[in-house]
């Protein structure tokens, strides 16, 4: 029963750590310590409690039929499995994350496309040697002297430099 539940999927912590963004490293470490602590605790607790030596008790306990009664009831007793209430939350988190990720991936791909367009534009532009000043200002609008806003030479906010 125990082996079926725990360790159904081996977690590759090294591969996991590689993918953790640097700003979430501490959270990752907390999770890892928690998992490690649980693992150690689990290893410390035996899977099945040590068997009770009924025969020895039968010899030593004077009350007639008590041990037999105990044994019967002990063997009949079914220890209930603890109820799993956290899995639902995790499931919800995963679904939420999936939604966010799919949205983010679309946005990210759009951004990549924009960047690639910019790179292509830069690579295909008229070389600076052959450019006119107008074309240069069109390419870098910030470098154009704004004579209306700053009527005096050098036509840009020197004090902001």
């Amino acid at each position: 029963m125990a082996t079926r539940r725990v360790g159904a999927k081996v977690i590759d912590w090294a591969a996991f750590a590689e993918r953790v963004p640097p700003n979430q490293r501490s959270q990752f470490n907390a999770l890892k310590t928690k998992a490690d602590a649980l693992k150690a605790k689990l290893a410390a607790v035996p899977e099945k409690p040590p068997a009770i030596n009924w025969d020895a008790y039968k010899k030593t306990v004077p009350v007639a039929g008590l041990v037999d009664k105990f044994q019967k009831e002990f063997e009949a007793l079914k220890v209930p499995q603890p109820k799993d209430t956290a899995s639902v939350t995790v499931e919800g988190q995963e679904k939420d994350m999936d939604n966010k990720v799919s949205k983010f991936v679309v946005e990210s791909n759009n951004r990549i496309k924009q960047y690639q367009d910019k790179i292509a534009a830069l690579n295909n532009m008229v070389p600076f040697e052959d450019m006119t000043l107008e074309e240069y200002f069109e390419m870098y609008p910030n470098s154009k002297p704004n004579k209306e806003k700053y009527p005096w030479w050098p036509h840009f906010p020197v004090w902001e430099l």
Binding site: F16, P21, V101
Partner: protein, 252 residues
């Protein structure tokens, strides 16, 4: 581009027009008729690029094309003969009159030529240097921009890759939950076994205690009865026996 090829021009007005066109603006060069283009170096990327070098000239100011124009009809001396004859004609007919302005003009032109010859090259070199520096700056900023963009793309891809690894996180969370459940279950089993065992042990302990107490009571009872059974007569007999024994020991 064929546009920038210099064509031989058999008429004068084209040359004058081409000068005007070249001085005014860049894009209009493309619109100008091919035959009107003069003094254009052989450029590849017209109309973007302005000619960097002027056309070939003789004596510093007479376009080579003008001389070429004469060669077909008059031979190589023709243009010089024409120029000389023209000057002679102007002087002879008093179209051009010598006066103090002539001296002034000669001196002025001489000074102009001297200044250009003396300072022209260094000014040109300075301008070239400036242009080179500007180009270097422009290209370095362009390269920086390209590098930034490449890095941004890399970052986006890395972020996507990181998000693909989220299954690790949820696996770990689920594993943690399962471990906690298992731990709880095992602890429950342990607790049941321990409490049953404790109750049985209690029975065993009670039994052993009862036996010990019984034993103690028995021993006590026997002791008391033995002591009670000893009479004073017996006691004195034992004491006498003890004294005789002591005396025997002292003698020896």
């Amino acid at each position: 581009m064929q546009i920038c090829q210099v064509n031989f021009l058999p008429h004068f007005s084209g040359a004058a027009l081409s000068n005007v066109v070249l001085r005014t603006a860049g894009p209009s060069i493309a619109a100008a008729p091919k035959v009107c283009l003069l003094h254009t170096s052989n450029q590849k990327s017209m109309p973007y690029k302005m000619p960097e070098h002027g056309g070939k000239v003789r004596l510093g100011f007479i376009p080579e094309e003008w001389l070429q124009m004469f060669y077909g009809k008059t031979g190589v001396t023709g243009p010089y003969m024409f120029g000389f004859g023209l000057v002679m004609y102007l002087i002879n007919k008093e179209i051009y009159i010598f006066g103090p302005e002539t001296v002034h003009a000669t001196v002025a032109i001489g000074l102009l030529v001297y200044t250009i010859k003396k300072f022209g090259p260094s000014i040109a070199a300075y301008a070239d240097r400036q242009r080179e520096a500007d180009l270097v700056q422009a290209y370095s900023s362009k390269n920086a921009e390209l590098a930034n963009l490449a890095e941004a793309i890399e970052g986006e891809k890395k972020e996507q890759w990181r998000l693909e690894g989220r299954s690790h996180l949820f696996d770990a969370k689920r594993e943690n939950i399962q471990m906690q459940l298992e731990l709880e279950y095992r602890e429950r089993l342990q607790q049941v076994a321990n409490s049953v065992k404790g109750r049985l042990d209690y029975q065993v302990d009670v039994e052993s205690l009862r036996r010990r107490m019984e034993q103690q009571n028995m021993v006590q009872w026997i002791e008391e009865n033995v002591l009670k059974s000893i009479t004073p007569q017996q006691e004195t007999a034992i004491l006498d026996k003890c004294l005789t024994d002591l005396k025997g020991l002292a003698k020896a």
